[in-house]
Amino acid sequence: MELRIVIGGEAGQGIQTISTIMSKFFLRSGYYVFTEQSYQSRIRGGHNFTQVRVSTDPILSPDDGIDILVALNGETIDLHKEEVSQNGVIIYDSELINYEDVNRLFFGVPLQRIALENAKTKLAVNSSACGVLVGLLDGDFSILETIMREQFKDPEIGEKNVLTARAGYEIGNGRKDFSFKTPFLTVNNRLLIDGGSAVGFGAIVAGCRFLSAYPMTPGTAVMNYLAGHSKRYNIVVEQAEDEISAINMVLGASFAGVRSMVTTSGGGFALMVEGLSLAGMTETPCVIHVGQRPGPATGLPTRTEQGELLFVINAGHGEFPRYVTAPRDARDAFYKTIKAFNLADKYQIPSIILTDQFLVDSMVTIEDLELNNIKIERYIEYNPIRDYKRHLITESGISPRALPGTEGILVITDSDEHDEEGHITEDLSIRKRLVEKRLKKGELLKGDVEEPIYFGVSDPDVILVGWGSTYGAMKESADRLIKEGFNVGLLHFSDVYPLPYKQLEKYKNKRLICVEGNATGQFALLIKRETGIDIKEKILKYNGRPFTPSEIVKEVKKIW
């Protein structure tokens, strides 16, 4: 079973509320959900929409097509009606939207009147819409009721909204000709999580107790998440005056012993590049979350792209190791965030978590997270060390790390080239040894990166290669192609730098097609630079929207 609901309207009409409530509703009814948001860089007006895709099988991406369109304004109908499937339906406010075209597709409901009658406020229009939806789908109203009561802190308001929803439910349930149904299936332990929260929760579990950031979409989601949980988990979240300050505060906090992070987008990261280099030089661990959006410059602030790969890998003056991971979905984002903190501490380097607006803002159903086996290692010496030298040259290149304030020792570091103790030096032979020490850590780090997932037939004719948030759409497209008889495989990377190359080596003589959300094929360039493998065929998208499986299937068939 699969169902695609799109809710559209102006910014400020409550699209997000409806989609969140409905996503939770499907989760608790035993379905898998994927909820993707398309919104503009404005607070009111314009055209925004959300797709809630529901399935009895796990899903990790939105897809083309609509089975139910909830139109909060007339424009939504104009823009999306062509996408509505044959046996689909368009729900709209029959008293507010004058729509001529009346056929089987249209389902006018006086959404706002229901809200006014039952809750005495237009604001409850979201509840009437949810009610109509649940009714139409023959869902279990009590699940919706519970969610609503949780949602509203004030029980009286909760009651009013439940009333509203029930009225909507009756109307929706009255329309029996609709072919999609989502009755209660089963109780489960799954979670509904968005990428932003996954990174945020991962950071908290990793022990991040300081975050400094300057607001920037889509990075802000992680700041909001940590701030929202700061009291309970003793996290200090400080809004910096600018991104330069954010990264430098984080380096100060990390130097003094607290796991710390910044969160931003490409433009904010651009301002942190000098600080990144400082982290490299002073060997101060730090974690940087970069939520990509289309550039250059301000670009499309609320859209998605994979345009910052080569930038983050090469950012910073001078040479120093770094770890870059591009989580493939929210579950992966949770675990990779923890890994980013662990590797930052292990190698005393910056770790970059490279997500994008699509991953950050999309909600997905995942199986329960396993928290018991998570290892947090700080690699810090809390006891005084004799003749302590912060940048001691060791076999591995990793120096013992102590914290300032430890009795009897001093911790010294410098952004200038320094000696082992950390003092500024002009001794060029020390310079050479310190360069080698720092780079040695990068060699070791290669042992910690995760090889890509391979998925598909065992002897493929074509392998799709991708990275980061494209996983869901690529996996589903590979699935479909295989079902259609195509001899295809998928090689999908989450850790991207240092680039894991063993799987690539294995498949290098196959026909490879790189699928990326940018216009220049950055991952293909990285692969070529690191392995010499030249992926000539590419499927690229750069209009600000994520890939859908249907789209990839179509493109692959085109060039097959």
Binding site: L27, F210, G405, L410, D414
Partner: protein, 284 residues
């Protein structure tokens, strides 16, 4: 009491003979010794410049970071471990130029760090360009017609931002300087100490004598808690230059206002063995 020698290390200052930095270095050692603070409790943070090299010549913890960014690093470190005495020490170009935005917003933030600025009214390390505090008309290789912008007045700006503690001293008055440093360090909150420092190599205008002829100490009759008169005092710059505590405004520090930091420094709070079931519930 901590001996002043405890603060000596074996680094040799890379400054010009006669530079005002030497006396600042010594005064800070003395201030810390007199306050009985052991070196391992002190974290000096600095940026880049001649002044910013100073912490290398101390025995203490040190994070010598980027040009203009030391205040941010200091604030981060202090939040992470508020048991540390955190001092940011750099030059005028570093703090008022490149770091201007951190300067103004951290005055507002009021984290209990100390900001000591060696103000030689010039960029020393990069060979003598004008700094934000250079006098009007000063000629350099870049400012060939002389400086056109009136000098940045750190004292006046800090008062406009309602800073917690604002003082000025002079490297040529070591006793006064030690006293100011001690007041700044013991003050609870963000403390700015602007230290007039002759650069014998590049600043031929504001020489030792130039300062010596002009500075005068504020006496007890001066009330540093009155913001308007402090502002008036801050504008005094010419034949007479006041040194001393110019403005004090005891307001709550950033750290005090955070319940997160009440029981323990942040870096000591355990991060493992925590029950996250309430978060998991939010996702169900």
């Amino acid at each position: 009491m901590v001996d002043i020698k405890t603060y000596d290390n074996d680094q040799i200052p890379a400054w010009c003979p006669g530079c005002g930095n030497f006396s600042i270095l010594k005064s800070l050692k003395q201030a810390l010794a007199e306050l009985d603070i052991p070196p391992d409790r002190v974290l000096m943070v600095s940026g880049i410049g001649q002044a910013a090299k100073a912490p290398h010549y101390f025995r203490c913890n040190l994070f010598n970071g980027l040009h203009g960014r030391d205040i941010s690093v200091a604030v981060g470190a202090k939040i992470a471990n508020h048991n540390l005495i955190v001092i940011a020490e750099s030059g005028d170009g570093n703090t008022y130029g490149e770091g201007g935005n951190h300067f103004i917003h951290n005055i507002r933030r009021n984290v209990n760090i100390k900001v000591f600025v060696h103000n030689n009214q010039i960029y020393g390390l990069t060979k003598g360009q004008a700094s934000p505090t250079s006098d009007l008309g000063m000629k350099t290789k870049v400012q060939i017609d002389g400086v056109l912008s009136p000098p940045f007045n750190p004292i006046a700006v800090a008062i406009a931002l309602n800073a917690s503690f604002v003082a000025r001293s002079f490297s040529g008055e070591p006793e006064h300087l030690v006293a100011m440093m001690k007041s700044a360090i013991t003050h609870k909150g963000f403390a700015l100490l602007d230290i007039l420092q002759p650069c014998v190599t590049f600043n031929r205008i504001n020489t030792f004598k130039w300062y010596k002829d002009r500075v005068y100490k504020l006496d007890d009759s001066y009330d540093p808690t009155d913001r308007i008169s402090a502002f008036e005092k801050a504008l005094e710059w010419g034949d007479r230059i006041p040194i001393g505590v110019i403005y004090v405004n005891n307001r709550p520090t950033y750290e005090e206002q955070l319940s997160q930091l009440k029981d323990s420094p942040l870096f000591k709070i355990p991060i493992t063995g925590i029950d996250y079931s309430d978060i998991l519930k939010e996702f169900r």
